[in-house]
Structures are given as C-alpha cells and as structure tokens.
C-alpha cells in the first residue's frame, strides 16, 4: 500500500519534472530542421524559473476566475497523471478513482477554466482565441468519444491498464486494423488538442491567427509560469496515454521493485523522443490550415475513428 502511494508520487514527480524538457526538445528539433541552431533544450525551465521570480500584474476588471485559472490548468494534468500508466503496467494507489473518460473530463476542466479566464479579461484577443478553442474542442469531442467507444468495445473496459494489455497479447493483436485506425485517429486528436501545426501554430506570435496561445496572453509572473508549466504537463500526459496505452505499452515496470520503476523513467523518455521526432516531421512538412478547414481535418479524424469502430462491429479482423 505505502509502496503504491510512493510510486504514484514518483510518477507525478516525473510528469512535473520532465514535461518542460519535452517541450524544449520539440522546439530545438524544429529549429534544427529549419537549419538553425535553436534554443537550448533547457530553455523552458529557465522561462518558468524567470516567470516565477517576476511580479504578477492582474487587471482590475478581472474577477476571481482569472486568478483561479492558472491553478486549475496546473493541477488538472497532475490529477490525470495519478490515474494513467506512466511508469507501471499495474494500477497504482489512486488509479481506482477514474477511467479514461474521467481523465478526459478532468483535462477538459482545465481547458474550460482557461477559456473562461480568457473571456474574463478585457483583452479583445482573449475571447477570440477562446471561441476558436471551443470550436476545435467541440469538433474533437466526437472523435474522442468514438475512439473511446472503439477501445472499450475491443477491451471490454475503459480502464487504461486493461486496455494496454489487450492490444499486445498476443502480439498479433497489434496489427488489428481497428487498432491501427484508432492510433491514427488519436494522433490527429493529439495534434488538434495540443494546438500543433495543421490546426494551430504553437510558436506563432501573430495574435489574430492564434488559437491556443491567445488565452494566456494576459498572464504575467506566477500565473504565466503556472499556465506554461500546466500546458507542458497536459501535453506530456496526452503523450503518456497515447504511447503507453495505445502504441507501445512495453518497457513499463511490471513488478513492485523500485529499481524497475526507476528504469521505466528513461524508457518512457526514449519512447517520447521517438514520437517527438515523428511529430516534428509532421509539423515541419505541413502548413497550418485555414480556420474553416479545421472542420475537414477533424472530419477526417472522425471518419478514421468511425472506420475503426465499423471494422470492429463488422468483424473484419484477423
């Protein structure tokens, strides 16, 4: 019991400590593909540290929501990190609290508060970005649902620890067509949810074209640091769900020894590194879509997930 609580806390710590590193590596790789040198991979840590040491300016017009939102954005990914398999392939102490749908709802709560806070300020770009985020969000929602239906239909469960075993035992299940299609749909979902390139440009500085970034424009000091760190953790958690549950559920600690849990940390980072290389290639070779073309991108993701569900329903499987 005490051991499981301890591992859970390690898991949380790993998410908190390594999530800015992932963002740093993405930024560096992107610049390298454009044949520039790029910032150090530690730059996000420095940014967060610098922001924590700065004064915070809060608009007089804003309400308590504006002050609460950074904490919500920071805390919700931490809750999800307690529920999902980050380091171990057996459920830890807090994992009984929610399944994958529950995790999705908790993540959505953080996004909801960020959106409210963006509307709360007088900044004209805030509400614009907020309404765009909602648009992408409600287009992503059906895909999310169908992916979960397919996954729970195949595995007979929505608990991530059970799902990850079904896809790879026996190994031939990995090539099940519905599994491959679900992976594709979830990849497109990650691109949309974390504001990556075909949907949104995370490194753009032009406010009129922003979707995700413009929600945090009004924050300074501690608020900005928490929003930034929370955003990194959300991305890390999404990657953990994608890699550890759907794509590569190997390399996780199987027994209760501390040594294995510690070995699982570099393994998950290596997995993420390979995925990030793929992500950066996708981002560097595509152009950002026009706002009304996002419907078509999400439509494609939806049809991919529906095809996965159809193949499963129609018993087209090996």
């Amino acid at each position: 019991m005490a051991e499981k609580i301890f591992f859970n806390l390690i898991q949380l710590l790993v998410v908190m400590v390594f999530s800015p590193l992932i963002k740093g590596i993405i930024d560096r790789l992107k610049e390298m593909i454009q044949s520039k040198r790029g910032p150090s991979v530690l730059q996000p840590y420095r940014d967060i540290w610098k922001l924590f040491n700065k004064d915070e300016v809060v608009s007089e017009q804003s309400s308590w929501i504006f002050r609460l939102a950074p904490y919500m954005c920071f805390i919700t990914p931490m809750f999800v990190a307690l529920l999902i398999p980050v380091l171990t392939d057996y459920p830890l102490f807090f994992a009984f609290m929610a399944d994958m749908l529950g995790g999705g709802f908790i993540l959505a709560l953080g996004g909801f508060f960020a959106t409210l806070a963006a509307v709360d300020t007088g900044n004209p770009y805030g509400p614009m970005g907020a309404s765009r985020t909602r648009m992408v969000g409600f287009l992503a929602e059906p895909v999310f649902m169908i992916v979960f239906f397919t996954v729970s239909f195949v595995a007979g469960s929505t608990i991530p620890y059970i799902v990850q075993k079904v896809w790879v035992t026996p190994f031939a299940n990995f090539f099940e067509p519905s599994h491959v299609l679900v992976m594709l749909a979830f990849l497109m979902l990650i691109l949309a949810e974390s504001g990556r390139i075909p949907v949104d440009n995370p490194s753009g500085h032009f406010e009129l074209a922003m979707i995700d970034e413009s929600k945090g424009l009004e924050y300074s000091g501690r608020g900005a640091a928490l929003m930034k760190w929370g955003g990194c953790m959300k991305f890390f958690v999404l990657l953990c769900i994608f890699l550890n549950v759907l794509v590569t559920p190997w390399g996780l600690a199987g027994s209760g020894s501390l040594w294995e849990v510690l070995v699982a940390v570099p393994l998950i980072l290596i997995k993420m590194f390979f995925f990030i290389v793929v992500l950066v290639i996708i981002e560097s070779s595509l152009a950002k879509l026009r706002l009304y073309r996002i419907t078509e991108f999400m439509g494609a993701a939806f049809i991919t997930s529906v095809a996965a569900l159809l193949l499963q329903l129609l018993e087209i499987q090996g």
Binding site: A172, N173, F175, E176, P177, S178, V180, L181, L184, T295, E296, G299, A300, F302, I303, T304, V306, A307, A308, L310, L311, L314, E315, I316, Q317, G318
Partner: protein
Amino acid sequence: MTQFNALMGGLFILTAFGIVGLRQIIGSLRLFVVQSVLLAGSAFIIGLVHGSIHLFVVAGIVLIVKAFFIPWLLYRVLSHELHARREIAQALDVPTSLLLAAGLTIIAYFIVNPLLNVVSDPFIRINLPVGMAGVLLGAYAIAVRREALPQLLGILTMENGAFFAGVSIAPDLPLLAELAAAFDVLVIALVVGLLTRRIQKQVGTTLVGEMARLKEE
C-alpha cells in the same frame, strides 16, 4: 497472416475514404497509389497462404500497372492539371460526403452478409465486404466529384475494390482475365486522361460537372 490481410483491408477502406474526401488532386492520386500497393499486398498474402502462383502474378501486375504505370501516365498527360489546380470542386462539402461514405460502407457489409454466412474462409470474410465497400465508394466518388481526373480515380477505385474481393473468391482465376483487366484499366486511364486534356484545351477547365450541354461553334 489473416491479421496482416485484415490490416490491408482496413487501410484499403481508409484510402477509399480519402479518395472520396481529399481536396487536393495530387493527394488523391498518391492515395490511389497506396491503395494499389495495399491491393497487391493482400493478393500476395492470399497467394502465400493458398500457395497459388497466379496471385503472385496478379500482385506483380497490379504493382506495375496501377502503382507505377497509371500514375506516371497521368503525370505525363495532365501534369499542369495536377499541379496548378489544387482544390477539387464537389457537389457536397467534405464532412457530409465523408459521413455518407461511412453509411455506404455499412450498406456494403449488409449486401455481402448473406454470402458471408455461407463461406468460412477467413480471407473471404475480410476481402469481400472491403472490396464491396471499395466498389460503392468509387461509384460514390464519381457521383460526388465534379472534375474529370477525380472521377477517373473513382473508376479506378471501383476496379481496385472488385479486384480486392476477386483475389479472395477466386484464387485460381485464369491469368488471361487478370491481364485483360489490367490492360483495360490502362486504356481507360489513357483515354480519360487524353480526353481531359482535350477538354481543358477547348474549354479551359475540367469541371465536367458544370458542362450541362454540348456546345457547337
């Protein structure tokens, strides 16, 4: 082995959806190449399991004619059309047509369902519904697209779907039939390609959906 064949089937349906829904002409053409490779892969796998040399030849013919020769031909004849016009005009918008396409896939399954109750071969159980869905989606692409080249890709998708079902039902189809079909497709692609180029020279567009009546000068 059946697992890989099922994967080929799943991706085959996905490429057929792409040919119905993609906006760029050149993207559709690339998807068609991928689809043909998947068809060849399925034929190869079934040939391997049944030990049928015919299916290896079929896979080879498909690879050469459909994954290489037809795209090359279309690039040659219609390179301007492929690169200059980036968006395809459609009768319905993309999400609507994709939803209808998903409905067609279900219909395809119910059409072949009585047949599936009779057979027990796992390859037929995968390939027949997928192939039927390919045929229906190809026909749907012809109906919903308003331009000549995407319509041609619709015809070729129908053909691919028919082959996809065919390789599983009749592993020992006479080679003559396969050869004839392959050349048939090649001639169709050539004729439609040249006709499209002709239309484009005369009218300045390939929006065949807009051409309501014949014009005389």
